[in-house]
């Protein structure tokens, strides 16, 4: 079946290519300056459909992509993760790293016409997000005081220095919410949630559930002359094959994250009408791994876990299962983020070393050639992870470990992993630009909390690691932090609390007529106020 399908598509691609070669070249030459003119409609895939669009209440990936055009944060981040102004035009940090003062832009308005002021910032960070947003709650609970010095100045006073405090002002981490709409109400039940009001370049127009979300240009936007686009449609297309067709036909002009299955990526890359980039995910910098329940035998033995690292060929996984997307991971910190340490114990693909480690740990081959049996709960997030499960089963079999694959759906997966009812599973988490935000949570023993997903579900506990992560978070001196994180990474890579697989990359396909789609480390979740369409 898939062969025929592919054949059809190859024919199609070839025909389209031929047509493109005949077309004038000007369109595809990069770097040609074109006036940024107004107008144009962009269709972007959104999948799965977000439950609601109020970013302060829901931070699912697709919600961020849509609501990032409606709501804004104080800061955004360049590809190298340096902070850039958004609703805050400038900011100052006191020498002791405990006081952060933000100057806000003065002409920003909510979509209902009310001015955006420092009081909205205080309300959002000290009330709204504290109630609704787990990540923001963790950050802003470190504040002793949050106060508006005047209508356009906000001061945050921390109990103790917190290295990545600025990272907390990215739009999905701390979206600014309108005080005049939410103050004194039940945030989750507020009827205004159906018509989100932000400060962003696009306003909510219509949501035809199951079909599309329509955003239109905010004519009162605070950046003069922006945005350029007239409107954006986010299209819900649940079937992966149909999504690929939508890109081929030009029905949609952008896809992001997991919209396109990895096996479709090489084919779509060859299309003449779209460009692919893997940039724009640096802030999230997801890392995938085999989650290991270190409470269960034989996984409690460090040597067994190290053997797993040697038994699995990460390069094969990248090339054959992810079709070239990503980089084999060497440790817990993604190399595109800050404080990555590359000088750690190396686990090259070597089944012999794996077997030697298993022998040493006392797992001898039985009469049927099996040393041990473990269960692997496959993450139910699409075909690619299923293939990965099959590969891991084969690779472990080669060194004498029998892996039983278990399947479930998303609810069952979260339920079992968060309640520690598993041996092995897969997982990937975002790093949010700093180890203190997105890395330490996986490994520190404070975060061993039953029933909570994305905590230290492995049950890994090492007081030395706890100490290093705690110290590193409590200083804002980069050099000091680098040393502490390097030490932590060396220990972790030795201990293998999880078996790291890939520093993941996602493909973003953008129609070549649309420029400036990916300009920062949050890529497709950016406000799109500078995206414009080149008209012929």
């Amino acid at each position: 079946m898939s062969n025929r399908l592919r054949h059809f598509r190859q024919t199609l691609t070839a025909a389209a290519l031929a047509a493109a070669l005949a077309a004038p070249l000007a369109l595809t030459v990069p770097g040609v300056a074109v006036a940024q003119e107004r107008g144009g409609t962009m269709n972007i895939i959104v999948q799965p459909e977000p439950p609601i669009l109020v970013l302060g209440l829901n931070q699912q990936g697709p919600t961020q992509t849509v609501a990032g055009k409606i709501y804004q944060g104080l800061l955004t981040f360049g590809f190298d993760l340096t902070p850039q102004p958004e609703l805050a035009e400038s900011w100052e940090v006191s020498p002791d790293g405990k006081v952060y003062t933000f100057k806000l832009v003065k002409n920003a308005k909510w979509h209902d016409g009310k001015p955006f002021t420092a009081h909205d910032v205080v309300f959002s960070t000290s009330k709204f997000l504290m109630e609704t947003h787990p990540r923001a709650r963790a950050t802003f609970s470190k504040c002793e005081k949050i106060e508006a010095l005047d209508d356009y100045t906000v001061r945050f006073t921390l109990k103790e220095p917190f290295g990545p405090f600025l990272q907390a002002f990215e739009v999905s981490s701390a979206p600014m919410m309108p005080k005049h709409i939410y103050e004194g109400t039940d945030f989750k039940a507020n009827p205004a949630n159906a018509t989100p009001i932000g400060t962003g370049p696009f306003k909510f127009k219509e949501w035809n559930k199951g079909s599309y979300i329509h955003l239109v240009r905010n004519d009162e936007y605070w950046k003069a002359g922006k945005p350029y686009l007239d409107d954006i449609y986010f299209r819900v297309i649940p079937d992966a094959a149909s999504r690929a067709v939508a890109v081929e036909q030009g029905t949609v002009q952008q896809t992001q994250f997991n919209d396109i299955e990895t096996f479709d990526v090489p084919r779509l890359k060859g299309l003449p009408n779209v460009e692919m980039t893997t940039k724009g995910y640096e802030f999230f910098a997801p890392l995938s791994w085999i989650e290991i329940n270190t409470r269960n035998k034989p996984l409690d033995d460090k040597r067994f876990r190290q053997a797993m690292m040697h038994a699995i060929d990460r390069k094969f996984i990248r090339d054959k299962i992810w079709f070239g997307l990503g980089r084999p991971a060497t440790g817990p910190v993604n190399s595109v983020t800050r404080f990555h340490e590359s000088n750690v114990r190396k686990y090259d693909f070597d089944p012999k070393k794996a077997e030697a480690l298993l022998e040493e740990a006392g797992y001898k081959k039985g009469s049927d050639g099996t040393r041990a049996k473990v269960r692997l709960l496959v993450m139910p997030y699409g075909e690619t992870w299923t293939r990965l499960g099959e590969y891991v089963k084969q690779a472990m079999k080669r060194v004498g470990v029998d892996v039983t694959l278990e399947t479930t759906d998303a609810a069952g997966w979260v339920n079992r992993v968060s309640n520690w009812d598993y041996d092995l599973s897969f997982n990937f988490v975002y790093q949010y630009g700093d180890p203190a935000l997105g890395v330490s949570r996986t490994y520190i023993s404070d975060n061993i909390r039953k029933g909570v997903m994305f905590s230290n579900t492995m049950g890994y506990s090492n007081p030395e690691v706890d100490q290093l992560f705690a110290q590193a978070a409590q200083t804002n001196k980069d050099e000091e932090r680098r040393q502490l994180y390097s030490a932590a990474q060396k220990i972790l890579v030795e201990d293998v609390p999880v078996a790291w697989l890939l520093e993941m990359e996602f493909p973003t396909f953008v129609d070549k007529r649309f420029k400036n789609a990916v300009t920062t480390a949050i890529g497709v979740n950016e406000s799109y106020d500078s995206v414009y369409m080149v008209k012929k």
Binding site: L12, Y212, H214, R235, S242, A246, Q249, A410, R449
Partner: protein, 326 residues
């Protein structure tokens, strides 16, 4: 007539109890699945703390004992209140009503076309049993019956949408085109062609095979021979004598399948990106959106009960020998 009225009223009274029993059963069924909506939302957020999950459970009423949740649910159901989806932040009834038109236009069109086409093709095949046209119909029917429905859908998209460019590949309308009146109707109809064909082909194959087999049984019976001996024209023999007697099994199966009308077709609605009830149900299962799922189950069970009743009534119309008995 009063006999029929008595029959219908008694059946309706029974139906109320059946539907209520189904609702209770469904309630336990959906709660038997591992995990809950709070777990799903925590998984989707990519970050969570204990408070997050606890708040969600409280909001959804999941912190209450199961029997209490059942009590709350049933007392609402008897007042015709299907509950509220906290995930979607809308009453379940509104959600269903939003999705119903798409599913009904898809499944009803497919159902009617399949029934008419299937009976016609089946009759044709049976009356010419053994000829090339019979073989052709049987082969096409068998292929349509045996091929996975999503694959037919994808192939139709590739052929008519990608290669030929005649028909839109998905959605219910051209988004942002701003059509009105006749144009809007045509646009919607165009979007329905591929999904209706895909879904209809399967059902048509079922009815074709049933009709053919049933007619083959009937066509050599004595009363048909008598009709022929009387010199009746062939079309009359086929339509009045044969078909009327052969159609009962088709009605039985069609009656069953009408129950699928609300459930729609999950696969079709997914492949063609139609915002219908089937997809709503599928997503509600994955998201453990209990209220929505129960609402859909309830609606479906009502439709099944109603169609069973209709089927019984149609039996007695088609074949007066069958009497309605309370």
């Amino acid at each position: 007539m009063p006999r029929i009225a008595l029959f219908i009223s008694q059946r309706l009274v029974k139906a109320v109890f059946v539907v209520l029993a189904i609702a209770v059963f469904n309630f336990f069924l959906v709660h038997a699945a591992p995990g809950d909506p709070a777990a799903v939302m925590a998984g989707e957020a990519g970050a969570a703390d204990a408070k997050f999950v606890e708040q969600l459970r409280q909001q959804f009423g999941l912190d209450r004992p199961l029997y209490e949740q059942l009590g709350t649910y049933m007392s609402k159901v008897v007042q015709a209140d299907l509950g509220y989806s906290y995930r979607q932040q809308r009453p379940v009834f509104d959600l269903l009503m939003d999705r119903l038109p798409v599913t009904l236009s898809l499944t009803l069109t497919a159902f009617v076309l399949a029934l008419l086409g299937g009976v016609a093709l089946g009759t044709l095949a049976a009356m010419r049993a053994g000829t090339w046209s019979d073989t052709a119909i049987t082969v096409v029917g068998l292929t349509a019956y045996a091929t996975p429905i999503f694959w037919i859908g994808l192939m139709l998209i590739l052929l008519f949408s990608v290669n030929l460019g005649w028909l839109p590949a998905f959605g219910t309308e051209t988004i942002g085109a701003g059509y009105t009146g006749w144009e809007a109707f045509l646009d919607k109809a165009k979007h329905l062609v591929l999904p209706v064909t895909t879904l209809g082909l399967f059902y048509m194959a079922v009815y074709t095979r049933l009709t053919r087999a049933s007619i083959l049984e009937v066509r050599d019976m004595d009363f048909v021979k008598t009709a022929r001996a009387k010199g009746l024209p062939e079309w009359r023999i086929v339509s009045v004598h044969i078909l009327r007697n052969a159609i009962l099994p088709v009605i039985t199966v069609a009656g069953f399948q009408a129950g699928h009308l609300i459930g729609g077709s999950i696969l079709i609605e997914t492949v063609f990106a139609l915002p219908g009830i089937g997809r709503l149900a599928f997503e509600a299962v994955l998201q453990r959106d209990y209220q929505v799922l129960l609402g859909i189950f309830l609606l479906t069970s009502v439709v099944v009960v109603v169609f069973n009743l209709l089927t019984d009534l149609i039996y007695s119309l088609v074949d007066p020998r069958i009497e309605v008995a309370p």
